[in-house]
């Protein structure tokens, strides 16, 4: 087995032993329970409410759990000098980085499958599969972002905060741009500057609002072009984060 695959395997083992599976079960129970409770107070669209709410909670929860796990795991390895030990072996920095990313990504795929299965309660299998595959791509991006920030910032809290900031901004940037482009009062120069700033920030962010949409579960699956464009954009941004992380990792003096 190649060293990168060995690293990926050890990363999966670490996740299994760290209680992550229990957190997944807890998140599933909380999301499904809350969705079921709220659907009881809805006068109509109970099924849609359950699906939309469970999908939204599981999507956000999966991203948070994964980001926190990656950041804590990377920082712990650095503090325990496991990183130095690994790099003393015949293993290049790129192999180490990509091996860790492969392991974390496999956890993300596991999350996507576990959280996609309950969607079969409310959506047809095709829509649920598309949603789940999109969640897997989104979690791949979260893994890459969290690994990048954990390696670069070398602290758990700043790494989680930076990943959460990037994730939340990427999910809301399209709506923020829409807000900025339709002012309720006459436009002033400050508003034009603000809009320019928002548009500039948007250039640096992925369109997470276009991926893993709960509307796919409620109404109809997306058009093939729209779906592939959304997933392609996620994979491209994951590659960008991976390149940035490797760049920083290669420059670091250990």
């Amino acid at each position: 087995m190649s060293p990168a695959l060995l690293l990926a395997r050890s990363t999966l083992l670490e996740a299994r032993r760290s209680g992550l599976p229990w957190l997944v079960v807890g998140l599933l129970a909380a999301a499904l329970g809350l969705a079921a409770f709220l659907s009881q107070v809805a006068v109509t669209e109970g099924r849609e409410l359950q699906a939309a709410l469970a999908a939204a909670l599981l999507r956000a929860g999966a991203a948070f759990l994964l980001a926190a796990h990656v950041a804590a795991s990377v920082v712990r390895e650095a503090n325990d000098k496991v990183l130095e030990l690994a790099l003393a072996l015949p293993l290049s920095r790129s192999q180490y980085y990509l091996g860790k990313l492969a392991g974390y990504s496999a956890i993300g795929v596991g999350f996507a499958i576990a959280f996609g299965l309950p969607m079969l309660l409310w959506a047809n299998p095709g829509s649920a599969a598309l949603w789940s595959a999109s969640l897997a791509a989104e979690l791949l991006l979260v893994c890459a972002a969290s690994l990048f920030f954990a390696v670069t910032l070398a602290n758990v809290v700043p790494a989680i905060a930076a990943t959460a900031g990037l994730y939340l901004l990427a999910r809301s940037i399209a709506a923020i741009q829409l807000l900025a482009s339709s002012p309720v009062v006459v436009e002033s120069w400050t508003q034009r500057v603000a809009r320019g700033a928002v548009d500039t920030v948007a250039l640096l962010l992925p369109r997470l609002d276009a991926a893993t949409r709960s509307e796919w579960l409620l109404y109809a699956p997306p058009a093939a072009g729209e779906y592939l464009a959304a997933l392609g954009a996620l994979l491209l941004y994951t590659a960008l984060l991976c390149a940035a992380g490797l760049f920083d990792f290669h420059r670091r003096n250990l």
Partner: protein, 242 residues
């Protein structure tokens, strides 16, 4: 007990006491305190649909439905100091508009507008809600026709405004092109002009909705059944009075 833990006897007595006391005080305070107050405040101004979308973090379908549940808390909850019949309908309409724009495919805002907010005794408020339903219907007739069909019935039987009911009925016939729409809705104007009372008309509507497979939601079925029974009771008591 895992091997990494010391026995419970290793914990000092004062710490047991502190833990027990603080826990008892916490539970006691919560038990004797007043229960959470029902939402009695007036409805706050509605957010813009764009703001609601931004706050939804890319989950407009979930946000729109949660916003509807929030809006419901201003009316359906028992013990509210401000029942929905006294709500500020200008704000209410703005809320429903924002929610509908956040998820245009959701039927929840128009269902509530037609079945809850338009059925108030105050004609001015009912008319405001019917106008909202009509406006929203014209944006997507094939999806939103059930709300306008009910609005036409309300205009005829509650507001006694036959011209308004006929205007809605004409629009319903003219703009709704979906072949799955029941016959009575396609011939709404005739349906409105027929000499039948509100209960008969409501029963035909409900039967048609059930037959067309539009009433799959158990909550919605239950709600409409309760409304029908309420209407039955009301009409029976009116007949007894007459």
């Amino acid at each position: 007990m895992s091997a990494r833990e010391r026995p419970l006897s290793a914990v000092p007595l004062w710490l047991w006491a502190l833990l027990g006391t603080t826990l008892a005080v916490q539970i006691g305070l919560r038990a004797v305190g007043p229960p959470p107050a029902a939402t009695a405040a007036d409805l706050p101004p509605a957010p813009r649909a764009a703001a609601l979308r931004a706050a939804s973090l890319g989950e407009p379908a979930a946000a729109a439905r949660l916003a509807m549940l929030y809006l419901q808390a201003f009316d359906l909850g028992a013990g509210n100091a401000l029942p929905y019949s006294r709500l500020d309908y200008t704000r209410l309409r703005a809320w429903l508009r924002a929610i509908q724009d956040t998820d245009p495919r959701s039927a929840y805002p128009l269902f509530s507008a037609a079945r809850v907010y338009a059925e108030v005794e105050d004609p001015a408020r009912a008319r405001a809600m019917l106008a909202f339903i009509h406006e929203a219907y014209r944006e997507d007739p094939n999806r939103r026709w059930p709300a306008l069909a009910h609005a036409a019935l309300l205009a005829k039987h509650r507001l006694k405004d036959l011209p308004l009911a006929r205007r809605y009925a004409t629009d319903l016939q003219r703009l709704t092109t979906d072949p799955g729409v029941p016959l009575w809705a396609k011939q709404m104007e005739v349906f409105i002009l027929e000499d039948m009372n509100e209960l008969e008309a409501a029963k035909i509507m409900l039967g048609g909705m059930l037959a067309s497979g539009r009433l799959e939601d158990p909550g919605e079925r239950r709600f409409l059944k309760e409304r029908l029974e309420e209407l039955e009771r009301r009409m029976a008591s009116e007949q007894r009075r007459n």
